[in-house]
């Protein structure tokens, strides 16, 4: 490859360092191109597309019960063995999960659990800010999964956002913090495809 290229440009290219000049012009162009950095978490946040596989959530039906029938298919198919489902019979006589734990530290977000589920219960959402100081804290339970945010209609946009840190003074006074770390999005998502950053830097 390299040989054919030098042959092509020939000795003129060699004498005038055409290949080096080409490299220089490329970096010069990039030097004045738009930067692709997202100002996360201070000013911006990337809202993934709705196809994004993030934090799991479990859907509930009209009666307020979870859709899950505790068939354990998701737990069987999971390549990481990170779902634990223990069934029980609830007051209405339905088979429901008594325990539904997912170890997010082991999960590889493949989405197979979502595919296997016959009851349209478990889904992977758009939430991706999953961090904790211990691995135990990354095991989420049934309540967390029900409370977890579902899929947003729109995505694939960078939104203005603000970083919220724990209230240090309140933490000192009361011994527990009222706020946790979070990046809240300001404004509403555009319905359109929005910010196509890849196209914009390629201009």
């Amino acid at each position: 490859m390299a040989r054919t290229m030098t042959n092509k440009s020939g000795w003129i290219g060699k004498v005038f360092f055409l290949d080096l000049l080409h490299g220089l012009s490329l970096t010069l162009r990039y030097m004045f191109a738009r930067t692709v950095t997202h100002m996360y978490p201070d000013h911006e946040k990337w809202i993934p597309y709705s196809r994004h596989r993030g934090h799991h959530f479990i859907k509930t039906n009209d009666e307020g019960d979870v859709n899950c029938v505790a068939c354990e298919l998701c737990s069987k198919i999971c390549p990481c063995d990170c779902i634990i489902v223990i069934p029980f019979e609830d007051a209405k006589g339905n088979r429901r999960p008594q325990v539904f734990d997912i170890d997010l530290a082991r999960c590889l977000y493949c989405g197979l659990c979502e595919d296997a589920c016959p009851a349209d219960a478990i889904k992977l959402g758009q939430e991706y800010e999953i961090s904790a100081t211990t691995t135990e804290a990354l095991v989420v339970h049934l309540e967390d999964l029900i409370a977890a945010p579902g899929k947003a209609e729109n995505g694939g946009q960078v939104m203005p956002a603000k970083l919220i840190t724990p209230d240090k003074t309140a933490l000192k006074k009361t011994g527990k913090d009222t706020r946790t770390h979070s990046v809240t999005v300001e404004g509403t998502l555009k319905a359109a495809e929005g910010y196509d950053w890849w196209q914009r830097i390629r201009k």
């Binding site: 080096l20 490299g23 220089l24 490329l26 970096t27 010069l28 990039y30 030097m31 004045f32 191109a33 738009r34 930067t35 692709v36 950095t37 100002m39 830097i201």
Partner: protein
């Protein structure tokens, strides 16, 4: 009293130059990181101050408060003096560097150089050659294989590139008929030397990159294969001495390129101060060095030697021959 008044402007000039040189690496590191960032389509430092302008201050605090570690097996005396030996030559070089025509200040004429040497160019080349001693000492004193390898490489590299560098400026000296940098600049009143000496400029520029050990010739501190080369074992303030020396060498090279080939303060567009114009050109060259740094990969060691001995040396000799022929 008379002698004190005579020496006072010199002392003031020295103080100003030393202060500026000590502070200069701060904006340069910022610039370098910004350029690196933008070439890679990221904004570079953004957190400390407006667009990260205070980042060098944070870096300086970090370097000054770091543990100053000396390896147990190191030669302690040499290890301690090596950074100073490396740092002194770039400072000494500024003795001979002119920054502009003499200006009228407080009723007296002030020359914008510390000394107007007749062999200024020779002095600069000779002194900047001494810089390699600091690197040799650092590599040897660290008692570490990476450091020794790095300093061996840099010795070989500096020696091979000093020769084409010295030869490449001979054309300029022949044109000006003098080694005095003021004369050389004065000679470029009409047309800059780059027009007469394109090959000389090319050789000088490339050899200069190698002298300053900038990418693509940064083999003495090739991060990929040598840790950090000769300053692998250095930390804290001693390490920052080496960094300071490196940045100053870059500044010296940019200044030399401007003085020798781009007319110094000549060719000033109207309404621009000649001294400002000179520093603008120097800044442009510093920017070019940084641009090169983040564009090119590193040459292999044998390629480096081949370029030095088989390409640049013959080219510089041919350049002398051709310019001598034309002048005759």
């Amino acid at each position: 009293m008379e002698s004190v008044i005579a020496i006072l402007p010199l002392l003031i000039k020295m103080a100003v130059i030393v202060a500026v040189l000590l502070l200069l690496p701060m904006p340069l590191t910022w610039l370098e990181r910004k350029i690196a960032g933008h070439i890679q389509q990221r904004p570079g430092p953004m957190r400390v101050g407006w667009h990260g302008v205070l980042q060098p201050v944070a870096d300086a605090i970090k370097l000054l408060t770091k543990e100053d570690h000396i390896p147990a097996e190191a030669d302690r005396l040499l290890f301690k003096i090596a950074p100073i030996v490396a740092l002194v030559p770039p400072f000494v070089v500024f003795v001979a560097i002119p920054f502009g025509e003499p200006v009228q200040m407080f009723g007296t004429e002030v020359t914008l150089s510390l000394s107007n040497m007749n062999v200024g160019l020779l002095f600069i080349l000779a002194v900047s050659g001494i810089g390699v001693f600091g690197i040799i000492l650092a590599g040897w004193a660290s008692n570490s294989k990476y450091a020794v390898l790095g300093s061996l490489r840099s010795i070989a590299q500096m020696i091979s590139y000093e020769i084409p560098m010295g030869f490449s400026v001979i054309g300029v000296v022949m044109l000006a008929g003098s080694m005095n940098l003021f004369d050389i600049v004065a000679r470029q009143d009409g047309l800059w030397n780059i027009v007469y000496q394109p090959i000389g400029f090319f050789v000088f520029f490339v050899a200069g990159l190698a002298e300053a050990q900038r990418i693509p010739f940064d083999l003495p501190e090739a991060e990929g294969d040598l840790g950090a080369g000769y300053h692998t074992e250095y930390s804290g303030i001693r390490f920052s001495f080496f960094m300071l020396a490196e940045y100053l060498v870059v500044v010296v090279l940019a200044i030399l390129n401007v003085i020798l080939f781009f007319g110094g303060w000549q060719g000033t567009p109207p309404l621009v101060n000649p001294i400002l114009w000179f520093f603008l050109k120097v800044g442009f060259f510093i920017w070019v060095f940084m641009w090169f740094r983040f564009t090119f990969p590193r040459y292999r060691y044998d390629q480096l030697m081949t370029i030095g001995w088989k390409v640049l040396l013959p080219l510089s000799l041919v350049n002398i021959l051709v310019s001598g022929f034309f002048m005759f």
